[in-house]
Amino acid sequence: GQFVQILCSGDSLDPLLPRPFSFLEATTTDFSLLYHVVGQGTQLMGKFKKGDKVHVLGPLGRGFTHSGLRAQQLLLVGGGVGIPPLYHLARTLVKADVAIKKNIHIFLGARHKSLLLCEKNFKKLGVSLYLSTDDGSKGKKGYVTSLLTAHLKKDHTKARVFSCGPTPMLKAVSLVASEFGVPNEVSVEVPMACGFGACLGCALKVKGDTPGSHRFAIACTEGPVFEGSKILWD
């Protein structure tokens, strides 16, 4: 989904580059986000104090499709830090009355139950929730794609898939969706420098204009949401 670039280090030049984070919730006046501490930048973010001024740039990028979804069955598949943007999507669709709650199905996967983000948020929103963990500590043991496959087997009429998470998951989800001939949008996570189209650093290999050809899409402006079928996975 759409994202912001945050300068985690203030005046310090190490780390130098801003870090991209998706919205968890957002209005026209404020926003929240949810992140995992994985390295230097997110560690520094953990030290932010109430009242600190932080350099934030956004909203950036192209989010998930937000219209024409009323009569559709919406399957949101998320893993890891890809879950918050899906909550943002679900919430926005429900609030804007673009989709009906009962048509929204959320599939979440994680290594362990402690990494299943936003579970409560989704519950509060009142959408149906399907959980899986690699170690079986919560929900179904295994990958989230098997939950998705099971669901699509039962019913894939007017289904549309939206997913966000680690690349291997996106690839797997994309494969499943295309098996069932269901449209799917993925929000990719690629290394970025600027986040707004200035550096061309965030290349993503996608299908070219002619069959068999490829080109490099600029993920921060063309994406981060792409049609899964357009991406040339490694």
Partner: protein
């Protein structure tokens, strides 16, 4: 009394010395909501080649201490499409447009410039002699082993002379830092008719992922830019400005006005803001206003009082 920030680069009178560096400013449009682009002294475009280039596969960038590596691989639409699709927007801005060009041979350099010269709205060219990410070749047999134009003064002379013959527009030779003797390279460009030299392009560099034992960049090496290289860039500008008569355009890690002033005091006539645009899209505009503040504070009225004013 008004401040006069103007400087002259070849035939171009820049209303102020702050430009944006090639490859770091998208197609300019990406910045239009951040500040009034008209403020800029000038814009150097992403490097354009004769044919479109897809660029390198990802990963193309990796962060380093106070810097970053890039191996974009000169992704660009090619000269024809550039003229058709990108140039009209630049033209509208009303600031000097310097098109960065590169060729895989002397001929290609000439062809790109000739093609661009037929289009309107271009004020000058910056010859990217030093892009580290693509293999080069030269017509001259003996030199064909040299990997980069910028690494050999004879090749620099060859390219600049050839291009000089086909255009009257301002010609800037952009040099790379990975050489023993930057002034020598600059002298070669000057001799061949360049109106200015731009210093510096990125350093060839590498980051290895210890876990996978692979270079992080798909291209293996990339160009190092950002604040980490600034002290080296300032030294190169300083030693080069003393040796050549044409102006030097300085860059490398400029994040704010103080850094820009360092380059100007060291001997640069103008500066380019590069990597800083990624962290702070208003960086170039802030550099400009910071220079103005400095001039007011120090009661200076023209750039002459700053450029090459380093004391020893």
């Amino acid at each position: 009394m008004g401040l006069d920030l103007s400087v002259q680069i070849g035939k171009i009178k820049l209303k102020n010395p702050v430009l944006v560096a090639s490859g770091t400013f998208g197609h300019a449009k990406e910045f239009e909501n951040f500040f009034d682009l008209k403020k800029l002294g000038g814009i150097v475009t992403k490097t354009i080649t004769i044919k479109p280039r897809l660029g390198n596969p990802p990963p193309r960038i990796v962060e380093t201490p106070a810097g970053m590596l890039n191996a974009i691989g000169l992704q660009n639409p090619g000269v024809e499409k550039f003229i058709e699709e990108k140039l009209p927007y630049f033209r509208k801005l009303g600031v000097p447009i310097i098109v960065s060009v590169m060729g895989y041979s002397v001929d290609e350099f000439v062809q790109v410039v000739q093609t661009l010269d037929r289009a309107d709205g271009i004020d000058g060219y910056e010859l990217n002699l030093s892009c580290p990410n693509v293999p080069y070749s030269s017509k001259t047999e003996a030199l064909s082993l040299v990997k980069m134009f910028a690494h050999d003064d004879r090749m620099i002379e060859e390219v600049v002379s050839a291009v000089r013959q086909v255009t009257d527009k301002t010609l800037i030779a952009k040099l790379g830092p990975d050489v023993s003797d930057v002034p020598k390279m600059a002298l070669a460009a000057e001799k061949a008719g360049a109106d200015a030299v731009s210093l510096i392009n990125t350093f060839i560099a590498m980051v290895i992922d210890v876990k996978t034992r692979k270079p992080v960049l798909a291209n293996k090496t990339g160009g190092l830019s950002g604040p980490c290289i600034r002290p080296i860039a300032v030294r190169m500008v300083w030693e080069t400005a003393k040796r050549i008569k044409i102006p030097v355009i300085g860059m490398g890690g400029i994040m704010n006005a103080e850094h820009a002033l360092e380059f100007l005091i060291a001997g640069a006539t103008a500066v380019q803001v590069g990597t800083a645009n990624f962290m702070n899209p208003e960086a170039s505009s802030q550099v400009l206003s910071g220079i103005e503040d400095f001039m007011k504070k120090e009661k200076l009225s023209s750039m002459k009082e700053i450029i090459r004013s380093v004391k020893s």
